[in-house]
Symmetry: C2
């Protein structure tokens, strides 16, 4: 019998690892256990499926179980791994439909269990009518619920990326939507001034945004169904449906039980090749922690792009090749109600927490030459280390064609460039694409002036 690779979790990370390993080592036996009904899908696409922007569930699936099988991979759908025995090198599984149970031996194991949505431990949280949105099946459930009937008022708990995207999706469906968030501005990974712009855009779409207020309880009706969200300040927000958009935490229960070491952040600890501390056991995706290249800390960042890369790296290494995952710098992008926002590196709060002293500069410019039709506003904010002028973080907020420019700044940060170096970069210029001084360059100039002024004041 050949070598056997068992993969727990058939989404981005697990699917990529399986494909890469098998591609490099065609005689490898590969088994994927997936407890849901889908493999390799775009979780980030769920809000757009809920809104109806994307009509077809199948469109969100990059690789179906059948496609994996055609590549020679044994995919066990609706089958949950319930235990890992590292000594005997087996996993115990249960078929969620038939109830059948069994064990599967492995030589190599990829732990790619993803994440679980955060649920605040408040009364009523488990009532009917309270939904998480994390896996594709959740999206199907929510869509069915919305289609079912008399839902008019939706309360979304959490004003982060996913919370706002779901809120907008419900608004597009014509529902009354309220978002509750503990912070003073939504999407706390942005600096407050950017958060304020996001808040304004969200409210401009007719979404009610309740800020600086947490969730104390879910009020449950006599029918056992959620009827309102009760906030810490005592407000009662009526709801036909409650959606939890509080983010996720790594799904490490099985790993912890089995003795696969976890890291300081709570995710599974891995090295650059995605090896856990246990021989032949790998991990990838939302369940692992990554090195943040600026703070030096280990962080868990649940994002499909990392999951795909990490799964690929694990698969190449398992297949006998060599690849590494070099860490993250916190790049993220979102579109909320026609406002585009993106960030990379450290926010002001994160930079402070990491021990950096820095200056901050923001410029307002346009996405095209100011005189060009369709020129849209763009604000670029830079956070540069004192003295060195090294770019530590950047945020972009604006309208059409604004936010994707964050990639340029992500690469500046990746290469540890100073704002002085950045302002001389040979970036593209033509009137339909930028003013003659690109917003990125103007921001770098302004940040450099702030660094110089600070140095003179020392």
């Amino acid at each position: 019998m050949g070598q056997r690779l068992v993969v727990i979790g058939g989404d981005a990370a697990g699917g990529s690892a399986a494909s890469q390993a098998r591609k490099r080592q065609p005689d490898l036996d590969v088994v994927i256990f997936e407890r849901g009904r889908s493999t390799s899908y775009s979780a980030c696409g769920i809000p757009y499926w809920i809104s109806g922007t994307v009509d077809d569930e199948a469109a969100l699936v990059a690789r179906t179980p059948e496609q994996h099988r055609a590549a020679g991979i044994d995919v066990r759908m609706r089958t949950e791994v319930v235990g890992i025995d590292l000594d005997r090198r087996t996993v115990a599984w249960r078929d969620l439909d038939s109830g059948a149970e069994g064990r599967e031996p492995f030589d190599d194991l990829v732990y790619a269990t993803g994440s679980v949505p955060m649920r605040p431990p408040v009364p009523g949280i488990d009532a009917d009518g309270v939904f998480g949105v994390q896996v594709l099946d959740d999206g199907a459930t929510l869509r069915a619920e919305l289609a079912r009937g008399p839902v008019r008022r939706v309360v979304v708990v959490g004003g982060g990326y996913i919370g706002l995207e779901i809120a907008e999706a419900c608004r597009i469906r014509g529902l009354d939507v309220t978002v509750v968030d503990r912070s003073a501005t939504p999407v706390g990974t942005f600096d407050p001034d950017v958060g304020a712009q996001i808040a304004e855009a969200v409210r401009g779409e007719g979404i009610d945004l309740v800020l600086s207020d947490g969730v104390a309880a879910i009020a449950v009706g006599t029918d056992g169904r959620a009827r309102a969200v009760v906030t810490a300040s005592g407000r009662e927000l009526p709801a036909d449906l409650v959606v939890l958009g509080l983010g996720v935490r790594p799904n490490v229960a099985l790993a912890r039980e089995a003795g696969i070491p976890l890291g300081t952040s709570g995710g599974v600890a891995v090295d650059a090749r995605m090896r856990t501390g246990v021989e032949g056991v790998w991990a990838a995706g939302d369940c692992v922690e990554s090195v943040h290249r600026l703070s030096g800390q280990r962080v868990v960042v649940a994002l499909g792009t990392h999951a795909n890369k990490q799964g690929r790296v694990a698969g190449i290494n398992i297949g006998g090749g060599y690849a590494t995952f070099p860490g993250v710098i916190g790049t993220a992008i979102t579109r909320v109600c026609d406002l585009e926002a993106a960030r990379t590196g450290l926010s002001s709060a994160e930079a402070e927490a990491a021990g950096y002293s820095f200056v901050r500069a923001a410029v307002d410019s346009t996405t095209k030459a100011g005189y060009f039709p369709g020129a849209a506003p763009i604000r670029v904010t830079m956070i540069a280390e004192r003295r060195s002028g090294r770019l530590l973080g950047a945020q972009i907020v604006g309208r059409e064609a604004a936010a994707k420019r964050i990639d340029a700044l992500a690469i500046c940060i990746w290469n540890e460039m100073t704002v002085d170096e950045i302002l001389s970069l040979d970036l593209s210029y033509a009137p339909p694409f930028a003013p003659v001084w690109d917003p990125v360059l103007i921001a770098a100039r302004k940040a450099f002036e702030a660094v110089e002024a600070d140095v003179r004041s020392l």
Copy 2:
């Protein structure tokens, strides 16, 4: 009397130099001589003014003579510098309207004369009805000509950026437009496959594109006006108006006469601080040559973004500060008939000429997640050095939101990244902005595979 700075040329480079120098040294006497009717304008905006996309000439002017004067700068409009005396440290000038002449002494001199359009030395080239499009006054002349009357057929000589932009502008005005170019594909700074896509887009807009054919003569009517363009192959292309879009060369006549050293490329030679070889004489903008950071050659790149940066650098140094211009990597971007195209680094032909051996990889992807409404095609091509895998060049062609992504690759090249390093970058991902594998990352993966395959074959 204080120090006196004389600036020859009041567009991007000269205007920036004057402003920066005066800002840093408020008691500096600054005189700008400008032979045209405008200062500090967007030459790149002229095609959009001709098409009517931009309606107002004033919109193209970043800083008027009056604004310069309000900043304490003495601006002499319609006044041409006709000689530079480096021994006496004076310039000789002539007022183009009154014919008055005089001399102006200088302590520092900025040579910012820009460029002159290429004119093929063929019969009839100086006939009426043959226009160059280079300075804002040219745009005004052409607009007047088009508004004047019976122009129906326009022939544009040259299928580079400016030629195609002018052709499109005329097409938008409803004219019959033909473009003639010697090469087999237009915009020769792109690889031929990208050029072929551009050709298809141009033809798709109803513009007639005559390729692999040069201009042999301009046929002139009995009224002394151009009536057709005669090509090398003998075709006669009837024209009510001929526009020259063959690019430009540095305007160095005055410098050559005065003994200011020119470089190997034909532009004025400058060091990193924009100093010419002559004490107190600086140069900036389209008339100077720059270091190409990849080929190591000196090149002349006429582009507003470089002119502005170089002028700023000269002005800071003249004003007693310290700044340098670190060179160029050949980044350029254009939109032709809804097709977006951009490049950075070296094209295949340029890489070969520079002595590099390389692999090439191209991928077709989408600007948003494939399932997302409005996802547009994007092709990313990468040229990577053999063995090292260092990115030498990149080209992007696609539809809306495709081309500006070139900036990310420009920064990769600037930092001498390998395609292996690039494929791990933390770039932004969300369905409205990119597939989960960003097109840039997929291209890097494919280029890396090509590098590896090549290494194995060595």
